[in-house]
């Protein structure tokens, strides 16, 4: 606290004695937040947002120029020479079978990994929050403890385990299934933790009313908890989707060339000396545009969900 603030605080407290507790003194940050509604702040925020979008724009423009143009100068040159713009990189990229495969691999990894986590975690969270069974709280503590286990420590043991799982020509190691299961396993602790806390904040009366109305546990979950948990479940889904979509580490370890997602494919295209920016830029932009679209589509829930646990 600054000395100026202290000096200002003393008289405020002195004459605050006769009224009720007068309005508490607000710090700089609090006042800034208070003004966020104002017009000036709105304009400022839009400017900041646009500024943050510049790299994305740069990537888009770079992906729309030829390799030669890109090596000749920065992407902003396009503003003086709009004729440079060409969709050639995209068409040649989409002709590459391995890129298209890796795009679909990313989808095939991300969608199941997200849906499974949401489905399993919401059921588990309901049980942890509202069902009585022996050892419930201990089990939940273990789940919370799993939050701090880093992915890295599990890489080698899981790789070994996957190496043993093979039947009828199916090898777990290097398969999409293996990557999905790894993501699900490491996504669940946080997902359960988040949803359990959200579900636990739902008023008990609501569940009891549903029980009196004749609801079984499953009906209560499906018709009361799931709809009410919507914002939290949606934001969890977005989190998990973005995390898995952008993952490189797990893909590098567990995916082979047949099951590799876009991140791994992009990494494999990197050259020490630039020269293939016509592949990297459109590839990177295509891998970026999906999470961006998902985020904008659900950002309303995202904000609600992030606030959900903290602000009661």
């Amino acid at each position: 606290m600054s000395t100026a603030e202290k000096a200002a605080g003393a008289p405020a407290r002195a004459d605050g004695g006769n009224g009720a507790a007068g309005a508490p003194r607000r710090g700089l940050a609090a006042r800034a937040v208070g003004r966020l509604g104002g017009g000036v702040a709105q304009v400022l925020l839009v400017l900041i947002a646009l500024f943050w979008l510049v790299p994305t724009l740069g990537l888009l423009v770079a992906s729309l120029r030829s390799n030669a143009d890109n090596s000749a100068g920065g992407w902003w040159k396009v503003f003086t020479k709009p004729t440079q713009l060409t969709a050639e990189s995209y068409s040649s990229l989409l002709d590459k079978g391995d890129f298209v495969d890796s795009f679909w691999n990313t989808v095939l990894i991300t969608v199941p990994a997200t849906l499974l986590v949401v489905a399993i975690a919401s059921l588990a969270a309901y049980a942890f929050a509202w069902m009585e069974f022996p050892g419930r709280d201990w089990l939940f503590l273990i789940v919370v403890a799993l939050l701090v286990v880093p992915v890295q420590v599990a890489l080698i043991p899981v790789a070994k385990l996957y190496g043993h799982i093979e039947f009828g020509g199916f090898h777990m190691f290097g398969s999409i299934t293996g990557v999905v299961l790894f993501h699900v396993a490491f996504g669940l602790p946080f997902a359960i933790f988040l949803l359990r806390n959200f579900f636990a904040a739902i008023p008990r009366d609501l569940l009891e009313a549903a029980r009196m109305d004749g609801g079984s546990e499953w009906t209560i979950f499906r018709r009361v908890i799931f709809p009410l948990g919507g914002p939290a479940i949606a934001s969890l889904g977005i989190f998990q989707f973005l995390w898995v979509w952008n993952d490189l580490l797990v893909a590098l370890v567990f995916a082979d060339t047949g099951s590799q997602p876009m991140t791994k494919w992009l990494q494999s295209q990197m050259r020490q000396f630039t020269g293939n920016i016509d592949i990297l830029a459109p590839g990177a932009f295509l891998s970026l545009i999906v999470p961006l679209a998902v985020f904008f589509a659900f950002q309303r829930y995202f904000v609600q969900g992030v606030l959900a646990g903290s602000v009661k």
């Binding site: 009366d205 029980r211 004749g214």
Partner: protein
Amino acid sequence: MAEVDLIGVGKVYPDGTRAVTDLNLHIEDGEFLVLVGPSGCGKTTALRMAAGLEDISEGEVTIGGRVVNRVPARDRDVAMVFQSYALYPHLSVRDNIGFGLSLRKLPKAEIRAKVDRAAEILGLTEHLSRKPRNLSGGQRQRVAMGRAIVREPQAFLMDEPLSNLDAKLRVQMRAEIARIQRDLGVTTIYVTHDQTEAMTLGDRVAVMKKGELQQVAPPQELYDRPANLFVAGFIGSPAMNLIQGSLSGDAANPRLEIGGQTLTLPAAVLTERPALASYLGGDVVVGIRPEDMEDSELVEASEGSGLTSTADLVEAMGSDVLVHFAIEASQVVTEDTKELARDAGTDVLGHLEAPRTDLVARFSPRTRVKVGDPVAISVDTGRLHFFDIESGASIWGSGGAGPAREDEE
């Protein structure tokens, strides 16, 4: 529609806390029974055990003759109205009311018809498509009622359903609940903290204290013949004045001394209460209802029925005037009065240097008593209440005490 019985029901929580002890209640088919008592007296716990939301530790609960101890809430066929209303925020009023029916897989058209009828009874027809958050408190309360009505259950269980409403609306909804219950004739158990609700709604009222049933009786009997100090002090507003006094004289001319003043009692008091004779020459607790006192200037006071004091506070209520005054008699401090004081949020002062008890009298609005004036109070001595100073039990005499408390402590 069915009878509900609670037989020796008790509740002990896993940590050993006892919430309800040996509760015996028989609720007739179609009867409106009100469970009333201060907070923490176990009334809500008792209701929740009947609902199936709380395990029953001891005894049996039967609904329509069927023991339901092991029957889950959803199969008991009773409906509950919650204090918080517990409306489903994501469903429209129509879906809220029809929720229970749709879980029972009734045909859509039938649900529609039933919900429409319930909405009509409750005046909700034009709000059926709205969400609960867009409704006023009173409307939410109606939806909660509608959810119970529409299921046509064996019994209604209501847990302080009006306590979240403001005073005016509460009076209105109280009348509405009474009307609906009478029209439908559904057995109802109604929990409340408010004795006015208890008195106005209940066919019978059960008063509970610390998990134990004190008395079950029709409202007027509860008021006229309270079984003990607790019931006497809890029922009635303003509360009955409780003073220590001593009885003297003989059976023909009994006298009561309180705070150095003497009241002569009519002989009928002793014939009504044979057991009181054995207290002659000893101490008792005297209960005087505020409405049994009047300004002496306004009535023809008979000899020996007056108290004198100074008015400490005069509250004009319009229809009557509440006059607060003190007399030099010892306060009654028993377990019952402590519990009453705790409920009222006041502290029991214990014994001061000079014995002093504050009383409240309800005078006619024609009184001209002002604060600080000397006041002469005429007491209707035939309507006094007497309680044993040790046990707190009402003194009546053999068989006269009505349904007394279940067990003496």
